[in-house]
Symmetry: C2
């Protein structure tokens, strides 16, 4: 085609034109103006005809998912909890009535409503009802003690606290503490009862009971819609293991986008059946209270996550998806055989929260689950990356498959970019699978900020990227792999040792049920790896030297633990191993030499 | 739980707080301010900590899909066209180079670049490369004549026209016409050649050839990203059958959202194989040039849509999805048996553009396709609703299944609302399956407006809803069903007759290949139905009275056609039946009595 090529011409005669438009809320039927860049009016007329009004520009919000499910799948099952079952029409009505009651209680735009509850139906409903009243849902971790609950209630300025009957004492003590500290109005306490909770409850300081409060609402309630899609929808406090807890703010826009991205990442077809093994108080259940509604699915609620209940529900309701930290998977693979049931349909188990040992993935798959791996932080609305499985990998050996699957993978479709960078120079690390850097995120599914902590917000958004605090590498195919939390890395004789890599080897030892590796001070090396190991039943006579030798056989010498301590592994309510507890313990052991 | 219920209290003491935030572009690393509503400062401090910068607020754009596919699926096949095959890494590089060349030609933010081409690889690449240069892609219908092309080039002020070698004469004539009318600079003509097009092409007035232009670009080109997500990404001219054509403007935001909504609506898992039977010039191929990239799929490009090619490609490449107007499906079901191949994997055929006769759906499924039905308009970025199939419907009789499947269904997840309303009163019609009203849309996947036609834009957005011009009913389950275009409805003796319903009966007659029903003037009744029928081979001796009698047997008497004319049915390039042509013909017949 060479003969067709002509000289370049007409390179700079074109006029430059642009339009800058703002998105805000447009509830009225009036046409609204758009902003015009006065510096650059060249061919502004090009854009004539553009108009934005309620017909074509509305704030993104996951609240629409519920309304859509109620309208078009009114008679499909929305939620199952023991013998209780709701349809989407009912769930919608209940949420409207609850929102109405909240409104009658004075809750309005921007107020915070807190919860302290396991995954009971009320938790699901509150994820819609609270924002439907214009308010912000703040789901507190159900394992917190009264002191921490009181701190978070004060920090969030929550006006109402919904509390499960089993956590009533914690809530009451928290209010007592709060009362002593502040003269502000205390949050209203609303009790979430359960079928077996009637008779024994001490009702003092309780203002309302959930079902009664709900019954009092009006089903014709007009939803308080977000004025802007950037309006906050929820606050999630990070576990705050080492520092003071931070209130991560999610927006309606981010929640909408992360719900859809998570649905796609879960490869969730229409009508999924989702088993609630991830706490809804954890990153709003990875945005899936909203996502399941978007796909007209069925939510199977669980008060407690036990292997028998998982197998029973998975087989009874033909569960299609469940999620959980690797420790939840570990609980499943180490369950008693009489608790198990054969699984004869596809169940996708999404794991995240910490890097899953490849062995656990392999064992889950032997039990009939398909494991997929995601990664994210509270600050990224939960899921941010996932390990996309390429069909050609099916042909690899099982061990190789599990190794690939343990990588954190690639950003979901709602994120703009992820990268691994040197946090000092902000330069990207090479795709060599070796050079470590900090995992950084950019995109609309990154939090709006930390509530009332501008300093921490600015710090974590330094240089226009969200700094995750996780250390990882980039592989040749672009997939990322987390090597450690920044604060969990062990530096021994100037070498970085990934605690995750040492743990992976430990899991290969037949006696090891769970393992966690932290740094122990060392006069010579600075730090050395110290392994905490929980043994399987029947291995009580295991000695630490055997474990150390096993690690030396499978790791470079300097990476093998110098100390092995047999004990139960402490965990957070979301199943994350509490490394800071172990680190304290290792520190208390003193320096080795 | 009655005893727990207390009196309502504390109803209005809560402070009202809100935040209004604007989304605009944030390329810099600086933190940007948010707008504050000064009328309402009650508990503004609640929001302290909120910050928006490039880490957490970026313009939504489908351009990221390509970058993500290139980064993480570099070696996966992006596109196949005959013997040509590209990987995602190559497609990305080619688009960057093409964008660079456009930029070198002087194309910048807000400029319009037009195309006149069938579904060849260049069309796919231009859907990314043009917006990557900051410009707006305007894909002209490849069946337009020179006169209309010249009108649209003038109206869009296109700076460049990419033209397929087979359409070169049309383009050249259009430029000649344009030259006579205007003193403005003519668009640069870029030739899209093909493997067999070398020798015969007259190169006069061609400035560049596509591959040479592309080769001249730099792969390190820095993408001109949208400053705001509301920046236009494309212009699609509606077919303009009866009125002057309108340039429908899509935004980056809408394109991003509709791409994901369409992926979900197509129930498209990762790695789909998409056969391009829907023209990319038609609503930007239902946003799937972008959507397929989002799911790391493979695009199978086709210059012409012929049954043999469809069957060959479907079986060769294990196509998972294809789309087309009902006439495309009709072509498949009426194909010669020697053109067919047995289909032994799941192929989802999405049909839209006009209501599919249930018989065609049934026959497609006999051939091994799974048919799903969507509905939308150019103004809704293509797909807007889809007929969600409920699993329990599998048990119904085939005829009943096809009837349900022929309904237009429910809004996809990117829309805010659809409704059927009386356009005068704006009241919703009841869910009775009978009362007709106009289908109206609201949401972020409704166009930004008609280019340089403020009047038409305002008209179609009257009362804050997009007025589709389609007439439909709402069924009891909330699903909508289109009965007719507003202008296609036949009013006979004061009764509305849906031309679609009469056509559905006609398709049940064994001799009927295709049918279209329009109004014929009638002195007594005002109008009566006039059927145009294309007969199948071997039915040449069919007489019109038999068709009329057949209709009378299956329809209320007044709905049966009074006139039947045997002839080929005229269609647009997208397979839509040109009813206005038939209406003119029926009018020319004169009044019946």
């Amino acid at each position: 085609m060479n003969q067709l090529f002509k000289n370049m011409h007409w390179t700079s005669s074109l006029r430059n034109s642009r339009a800058t438009l703002f998105i805000s809320s447009h509830k009225s039927l009036k046409f609204c103006n758009f902003s015009k860049d006065h510096k650059d009016q060249g061919s502004w007329e090009l854009m004539e005809g553009l108009f934005h009004c309620s017909a074509n520009l509305v704030p993104l919000t996951p609240l629409r998912f519920l309304e859509r499910a109620a309208r078009f799948c009114r008679e499909r099952t929305s939620l199952v909890y023991g013998s209780l079952e709701y349809k989407w029409g009912e769930t919608h009505q209940r949420c409207l009535k609850l929102a109405s009651s909240l409104s009658q209680l004075g809750i309005s735009r921007g107020d915070v409503v807190a919860t302290l509850s396991p995954n009971v139906p009320a938790m699901y409903e509150l994820h819609f009802a609270v924002p439907m009243a214009g308010a912000i849902i703040c789901t507190l971790n159900s394992r917190l003690d009264a002191s921490m609950v009181s701190v978070l209630l004060e920090h969030s300025q929550a006006k109402i606290l919904f509390v499960d009957y089993q956590l009533l004492e914690v809530a009451r003590s928290a209010l007592d503490l709060l009362c002593k500290r502040t003269s502000s109005k205390l949050p209203i306490l609303v009790l979430i009862a359960d079928s077996d909770s009637d008779s024994t409850i001490d009702t003092s300081s309780i203002s309302y009971e959930y079902e009664m409060l709900l019954a009092n609402g009006e089903k014709g309630f007009e939803i308080v819609r977000p004025k802007s899609e950037m309006d906050p929808i929820s606050i999630n406090y990070t576990s705050g293991t080492t520092s003071r807890p931070k209130g991560v703010i999610f927006s309606h826009r981010g929640a909408y986008l992360n719900s859809l991205a998570t649905v796609l990442l879960f490869r969730m077809d229409l009508f999924p059946v989702y088993l609630w093994t991830v706490p809804m108080f954890h990153c709003n259940g990875w945005c899936l209270p909203w996502g399941v509604a978007a796909q007209f699915g069925t939510n199977i609620c669980l008060r407690k996550v036990k292997p028998k209940d998982i197998f029973d529900n998975v087989t009874n309701y033909k569960v299609t998806h469940l999620g959980g930290a690797p420790t939840v998977l570990n609980m499943i693979v180490n369950s008693a055989s009489f608790d198990r049931k054969p699984i004869d349909h596809k169940v996708l188990a999404m794991t995240g929260g910490s890097p899953p040992p490849p062995q656990i993935i392999a064992k889950m798959e032997e039990l009939g689950f398909t494991v997929s791996h995601l990664y994210g932080l509270t600050e990224t609305y939960g899921p941010g990356t996932f390990c996309v499985w390429k069909p050609e990998w099916d042909l690899l050996a099982p061990q190789e498959r599990s190794r690939l699957k343990a990588r954190q993978g690639i950003p979901h479709v709602g994120l703009d970019e992820i990268d691994i960078k040197d946090p000092e120079t902000m330069e990207s690390v090479p795709n060599d699978g070796k050079t470590m850097g900090e995992v950084m995120f950019r995109g609309n599914t990154v939090m709006s900020g930390y509530l009332r902590d501008l300093k921490a917000t600015k710090e974590v958004f330094k240089d226009g990227w969200f700094h995750s605090g996780d250390l990882g590498v980039k592989h040749q195919d672009g997939y990322i792999e987390i090597k450690d939390r920044l604060k969990d890395i062990i530096i021994s004789g100037g070498e970085n040792i990934s605690s995750v890599e040492v743990e992976t080897v430990l899991y290969n030892h037949p006696a090891v049920l769970e393992a966690a590796v932290v740094a122990r001070p060392d006069n010579h090396w600075g730090q050395t790896p110290c392994a905490f190991v929980e043994l399987k039943e029947g291995y009580d006579d295991m000695d630490s030297q055997e474990i150390i030798n096993f690690c030396r056989d499978h790791l470079p010498h300097y990476m093998a633990p110098k100390t092995v301590i047999f004990q139960d592994i402490p965990k957070t309510s979301t199943g994350k191993i509490q490394k800071y507890v172990l680190r304290e313990k290792a520190k208390a052991l003193g320096s080795i030499s």
